[in-house]
Symmetry: C2
Subunit: 241 residues, 2 copies
Amino acid sequence: MLLETASRPAEPSFETYSGASSAGRARETHSLEQLLQNWPLQRRRVHAKQHVFRAGQPRHALYLVHAGFFKTALISEDGREKITGFRMRGDLLGLDSLDMPTYTCDAIALDTGELWELPYAQLRDEMPQFQERITALLAGEIRRDWGWMLALGTLGADQRVVTFLFDLASRLERLGFSPSHLQLRMTRAELGNFLSLTLETVTRVLSRLQARGLIAVAGREIRIQNRAGLQTVLRENTACH
Amino acid sequence: MLLETASRPAEPSFETYSGASSAGRARETHSLEQLLQNWPLQRRRVHAKQHVFRAGQPRHALYLVHAGFFKTALISEDGREKITGFRMRGDLLGLDSLDMPTYTCDAIALDTGELWELPYAQLRDEMPQFQERITALLAGEIRRDWGWMLALGTLGADQRVVTFLFDLASRLERLGFSPSHLQLRMTRAELGNFLSLTLETVTRVLSRLQARGLIAVAGREIRIQNRAGLQTVLRENTACH
DNA sequence: CGTCACCTTGACGATGATCAAATTGTGTGG
DNA sequence: CCACACAATTTGATCATCGTCAAGGTGACG
């Protein structure tokens, strides 16, 4: 697989990509969520379309996604927008501005969700493994970004979409969800923005993949029906390069 | 300016983007190079086309570029290659694999150069400001990557090239070089790879900009002749989005 | 002086963007 | 609960940008 995710919480649930359920089998003991389980953290509920923070606002915390689905996005002075990633349980919001006085991107909820507010300075000083985790998460974000730069720079439209589906599936699987039944939380436009495609192209690719029997599309609900077939798509010749 | 550089050493020189010269006016006291000035570091000389490390090799150090010009690149299993960045004095090589047992990208010298080998664990434990610097450099790399994702995803060919020229100019200026006289150290193919363009398109854009009197191109030597004019190019409508 | 890598320029074509229009889905107020 | 407005999705037709292929030029180095 091309891309990786930095975090791997447990405790699956459904309908909101959260973790309210019970039958959680916690395997990876070093996730941030595990570390912080009985730390007195400020929690914050957000609902869809709400900004967690905006670029330029004073940075006062790092947020750990505990439930819900988020996007982070840059907006340039001249209005161009770019979604830099979709964040789910176990991911952090605000990592990119750790060394800055203000946030450097927007973080927006696509869903109802819950965030844990991490007091960075305090945790760094009082919890020995914390700094190490943060370093790993930062480096992991760089690797993930580079992976996407590779994908977006060298793959055609179909292959980008398939790469995205595989990435999402694997992240969901780590959270304990089915890797073949994907409930998208973003619009076609947002997906296209992230993949550097237009929303029409995203739609067309999905229709094309459905026509080939590789996936089943029903709005934002996507079922992966032929994983091997999708991997074949990735091998098909790219126009670029 | 769209992009930033995490490091800002002093002591300009010429002909190799290094720092052998003397008349250095050290302003920013918190650069890594400053911090490490009289630390007993292993130094390593490299020459053009030599690999500093390759993806998969055991990671044994972090490298601080002291002189020369480098590229870092990813290569996917199926042979697609992507240059993730060009690195010069004050930049670090290997940041992305800080938490890994092996390197996750290739680092290749485009020039003769000198690297300082940083023993990460030791410095982290013995030098108080070190960890903080590393965190800042990691976060800065993320911001830079996101900036390029925005540029590559939303700008046309001409604008990408101009953005690159401005970025390079500003980095060179911080090192004490002229921001209008650029000596490229990479081929058109490498530049195109980084910008997700073909080498022909890069050539064509440079020719076009020269024809408009905005720059003067002589092989890898580029002179910026009309900075304001180039900024105008950035305002010209992009096809994409 | 010849070879090789790199660069430049041209002609052509394909991928994906743009524009347009119709359909479906969603939330809100009556 | 329905009707309405609006957001999101789908599909089609057309076109521009940039990739591909080809050929010639330039420069470096043995």
